[in-house]
Structures are given as structure tokens and as C-alpha cells.
């Protein structure tokens, strides 16, 4: 095929935030692929300077309405490290539990409302609801449960107000949490239904040998703590992140591109967590994955939708385990006294690791901050996927090719609003 064509999507639909895509084919060969993020940068890191260390969770929560807990948990972990404190096991469990709520609401929103329509040939959730009202109702009920878990522990569903450095302002009673058990038991079954449903989709035949990066913590599927590991043999503490990962600015994007030293592009999120921590999934989640025909490693990015559904089952199951063992702590938080120094925090946002670093003075004032959200880490990999997918799909007419490319981007559930935190900010003092 010798032709020159340009496929452009100016406003990507069904992603969180404002992004675009450009594919340029010259003389029948792929010349250029760009995944552009043009949502304006939001300068959160500059906003944090001069604020109290205790304010970081509430400020960074505002980065995202879908995954506020990721920002709250990563920033709180970093501050706790500076203060030299560790959460008690009960407080750690509560933090993990509220995070389970976020995984459920975020994953279900993406799986059912944003991504599934791609596989079924629908424009979006409204068309899907016309054809499969039952499934959309299940998805909305699951999502509501995720929000409810966040409300019971966090005080409200979005941008919780009860979360703090060192724990919580008030710990929920055991009765408050046990009231959620029947709905969580339903959710565990409903999640398996989502797994079965998504496993039946037609998946483009495309696999890549990704460099997977995720957290890992002994004996538990990674959510709110762990070391950073990769399929290329990396195994580092979160403090060592900057020695191995770099961020660079590229002209076309308001989000920084991340790179792993000696490897280049890497992938964070469900596929990476699953590949690197399969053995730590609960039995019911493993059964759901096996029933869906997933191996221990999934390299087809289009199947990330099934892995998200498996993680939804896991989050419901894990929430039930935590609630069954829950005893209300005597103190809702560990006392955190500030001291001068740097702290690092990293947790598994639904879309992948969300890494934070802060430097404080002795009074606890934030001197500087760095936040690396998952979507900016995945940008290079998304572009490489586009090259691979487009290269194998040049025979498709433009409209179909454009759709295939958008679907490729949506595999990552990109949260563009989160990614555009990047800072190019110069102050000239005369």
C-alpha cells in the first residue's frame, strides 16, 4: 500500500482528561505516532511548597476525583517516613480497606462504562445500557459500593475528609464496617460476573514483552505499600526510585515521559501488578482469572480489562477479609512530629504506582515536592503500543484504524487529569 494519510483524534473520548492522538502514515509506512496530553498543567507541586506537611493528603487528593486515595495514601506514607513513624497494623489495614473501595469504583467505571463499549462496537455507556441494561446496573451498583466504602472510612466518597498523615481523624466502628459485608459478598460474585463477561470479548491479537513495574510486599497483593519491583529484575525501596527512573519533557505533552534506566519504556497498572504478584491474589481472584483463561502473565494489553475485573473481585474479597479481622484501634492515628528531611511514598493507584517525594524543614513546612502519577509513566508505552497496533492494522480504513488506536489508549485507563501535574515553573527575582 503506497499512500500518505493522517489519522487524528482531536479529543479522545472516554478518558479522564483532555488528550489527543496523531498517527501519520507516509508512503504506506508508519511515520509518526503521538499520544498528546494537552490538558493544562496544574502546578500541584508548586502549590504544595510552603504548606504544612499535614496538608499534603488533602491538597493532593484534589489532583483526581476518581483516585484521590492514591494521592492521599502516597503523600501520607512519605510524611510518615519523614517523621519516622509506622502505622499500627490496624491503621494499615484501614488504609488498605479504603483503598479497596477506590479500586472497586475506579476499575468498575473503566471496565463497564469507558472500555467495554470499545469491544462491543458501542459509542459509549448509553448505548451499552440500551443493549445490556442488566450489566450497567450491576456496574453502577458495584461502583456505588466502592464509593460507600470510601464514605464509611473517609467521611465522604470523593476527596475524603477523614484521612490524615498517621491514620484517620476517627476510626470507624466494627459495626459500621460489618454493615457493608452483605453488599461486599454480592460484589465479589458480581465481580466474577464482570470477569466472565469481559473474558468473552474479542481481543485483537497483539502481545508485547513489556517491562512490568509494580509494588511488591511479602504475602499480600500490592496496594498501599511495598518495594518497587520489575520483570527486568529491579527490586528497590521506594526511596531509590529516582536513581532508576527519570522523567523528561516532550514538546507534545503537558505530562512528563518516564523511563526506566537501562530499559526505557515500562508499564505500570493492572497487567504489571498481576504479572509480578499473581501468587498473592486471593483464591477466589485466582479462580476467577483461571476461569477466564488468563495465564499467570498477560501480555495482551487489550486483556487489561479482564485483569481489572479480576482485581475488582480481589478488592471485594480483600475488603471482606479486612473487615472480618477488624478491631477498632484505640487511637485513630499515630502521632507524627515533623523533622527536617525527605520522605518517599508509593502506592498502587488503580492505574499503577503513584510515587511522591517531599522535603520538609524542621517545623514541617514543605520545601519541595515531586509527584509521579501512573499515567505519565505509561505514556511511552502507550505510544509504543500505538506503533505496534497501527503497524499491524494499516489495512484498516481510517475510521476503524482511529477506533483501534483509541481503544489501544483506553487499555491504560489513562487519567490525563492526574498526569498533567508537571512543573515548568521559573521564578525570576529582580
Amino acid at each position: 500500500m503506497s499512500e500518505t494519510r493522517e489519522i487524528r483524534t482531536d479529543y479522545l473520548a472516554r478518558v479522564e482528561g483532555e488528550g489527543a492522538m496523531l498517527v501519520r502514515v507516509r508512503d504506506g509506512a508508519l511515520e509518526e505516532v503521538q499520544f498528546k496530553i494537552f490538558e493544562p498543567p496544574r502546578f500541584f507541586e508548586a502549590l504544595l511548597r510552603g504548606r504544612r506537611f499535614t496538608e499534603a493528603p488533602d491538597i493532593t487528593a484534589r489532583i483526581c476525583g476518581i483516585c484521590p486515595i492514591a494521592y492521599m495514601a502516597s503523600s501520607a506514607a512519605a510524611m510518615e517516613q519523614v517523621c519516622g513513624v509506622e502505622l499500627t497494623p490496624q491503621l494499615q489495614a484501614l488504609r488498605r480497606l479504603i483503598y479497596c473501595g477506590e479500586w472497586i469504583e475506579s476499575h468498575v467505571l473503566h471496565v463497564a462504562m469507558l472500555h467495554a463499549p470499545d469491544f462491543l462496537g458501542f459509542d459509549g455507556a448509553i448505548e451499552l445500557a440500551r443493549e445490556r441494561r442488566d450489566l450497567v446496573e450491576v456496574a453502577l451498583r458495584l461502583k456505588k459500593l466502592g464509593n460507600e466504602l470510601m464514605r464509611v472510612i473517609g467521611g465522604r466518597e470523593v476527596h475524603p475528609v477523614n484521612f490524615r498523615v498517621g491514620g484517620f481523624y476517627r476510626a470507624p466502628t466494627a459495626a459500621e464496617l460489618r454493615a457493608l459485608v452483605p453488599e461486599l459478598e454480592w460484589a465479589r460474585d458480581a465481580g466474577r460476573e464482570l470477569v466472565r463477561w469481559t473474558a468473552g470479548f474479542d481481543f485483537p491479537d497483539y502481545e508485547r514483552d513489556y517491562a512490568f513495574v509494580s509494588l511488591r510486599h511479602p504475602g499480600e497483593y500490592p496496594i498501599e505499600r511495598g518495594r518497587i519491583v520489575s520483570s527486568t529484575g529491579l527490586d528497590i525501596s521506594v526511596d531509590e526510585y529516582e536513581e532508576h527512573f527519570t522523567e523528561t519533557h516532550v514538546e507534545r505533552s503537558n505530562a512528563l515521559h518516564s523511563s526506566l534506566a537501562g530499559v526505557g519504556a515500562y508499564l505500570v497498572g493492572p497487567l504489571a501488578r498481576y504479572a509480578l504478584n499473581h501468587e498473592d491474589l486471593s483464591d477466589v481472584a485466582k479462580e476467577a482469572a483461571a476461569e477466564a483463561g488468563l495465564g499467570r502473565v498477560v501480555r495482551n494489553p487489550f486483556k487489561s480489562i479482564v485483569v481489572r475485573a479480576v482485581e475488582t473481585v480481589y478488592a471485594a474479597d480483600e475488603a471482606l477479609r479486612i473487615i472480618a479481622a477488624y478491631e477498632r484501634p484505640d487511637d485513630p492515628a499515630v502521632v507524627c512530629a515533623p523533622r527536617a528531611g525527605s520522605g518517599h511514598g508509593c502506592t498502587e493507584a488503580p492505574r499503577g504506582i503513584c510515587w511522591h517525594r517531599y522535603r520538609l524543614d524542621a517545623e514541617g513546612t514543605i520545601l519541595d515536592a515531586k509527584i509521579v502519577p501512573p499515567t505519565s509513566q505509561n505514556q511511552k508505552t502507550i505510544e509504543e503500543d500505538l506503533v505496534g497496533v497501527v503497524g499491524g492494522s494499516l489495512h484498516l480504513p481510517d475510521a476503524e484504524l482511529a477506533h483501534r488506536c483509541e481503544q489501544t489508549i483506553r487499555n491504560y485507563d489513562p487519567c490525563i487529569s492526574c498526569a498533567t501535574h508537571f512543573l515548568r515553573f521559573e521564578v525570576e527575582r529582580l
Binding site: 502549590l47 476525583g65 476518581i66 467505571l109 445500557a129 450497567v136
Partner: protein, 121 residues
């Protein structure tokens, strides 16, 4: 009064069981600052490009259509808002917008007076 700051599928939960909903938000519609907007779609869809001030995946119009498809939308949804001008971080309400706040409140009350009172929340 219900506050919704995240993605609009949650509006469906907030709207459950309500007969009339008045959505109030800042509006960016290319008119002069302080212009009072009223959008009453009746049984038609809301304009496709009517979005909440967040940049999340679904617009408020999509949320309404999804609710109608699932048979759980309010009978009547009206959108009221004031054309804003200053959307930067930390910016105060501009005088042009502040001057219309009383009018906006009066407009909300008018909508509620017209609504049959079947439920109160």
C-alpha cells in the same frame, strides 16, 4: 442540596427518587461574564457538550441520558449557571459574576416553586 465534584455517573445515585433536579454550576459558554444561563431540555437530551467543570469522562448530558435509559432519571432536570470569566487557581469571584448571585438564587427558588413537592432532601 447535594454536592457532586466527581464523575457524573454518581449523579445517578444522587438523583435517585427525585422528581425535579436543578443543577447549578459555573458555565463557560462564550457569552459575557455574569450572563445567567437556563437550560431546560424537557424530554430532549441536554446539549452534548454540556459538561461538569471537571474534565472527566462523561458529561452531565450523558449522565441524564444514561439515567433515562435505565429508567432512573428525574422527571425534570434544569441547569442554571452564571457565565464565569476567571477560572485560575485561587481566583476570587469576579464582580460581574458576584453581582448576579442573588438573581441565580432567585432563579433556583423559582424552579423549586414550580416543582410539585413529592420528596424533600
Amino acid at each position: 442540596m447535594l454536592d457532586c465534584a466527581d464523575e457524573p455517573t454518581r449523579l445517578l445515585d444522587l438523583w435517585a427518587g427525585l422528581d425535579t433536579v436543578v443543577v447549578v454550576d459555573a458555565i463557560r459558554g462564550g457569552t459575557s461574564p455574569g450572563t445567567l444561563h437556563r437550560i431546560d431540555p424537557g424530554d430532549d437530551p441536554l446539549p452534548r457538550d454540556l459538561r461538569l467543570a471537571s474534565t472527566h469522562a462523561m458529561g452531565i448530558g450523558d449522565a441524564l441520558e444514561l439515567g433515562r435509559t435505565l429508567g432512573q432519571a428525574p422527571r425534570r432536570v434544569v441547569v442554571l449557571g452564571i457565565e464565569g470569566v476567571a477560572f485560575g487557581i485561587g481566583e476570587e469571584l469576579t464582580p460581574a459574576v458576584a453581582a448576579r448571585l442573588d438573581d441565580l438564587v432567585a432563579a433556583v427558588l423559582r424552579e423549586l416553586e414550580e416543582a410539585p413537592c413529592t420528596s424533600a432532601r
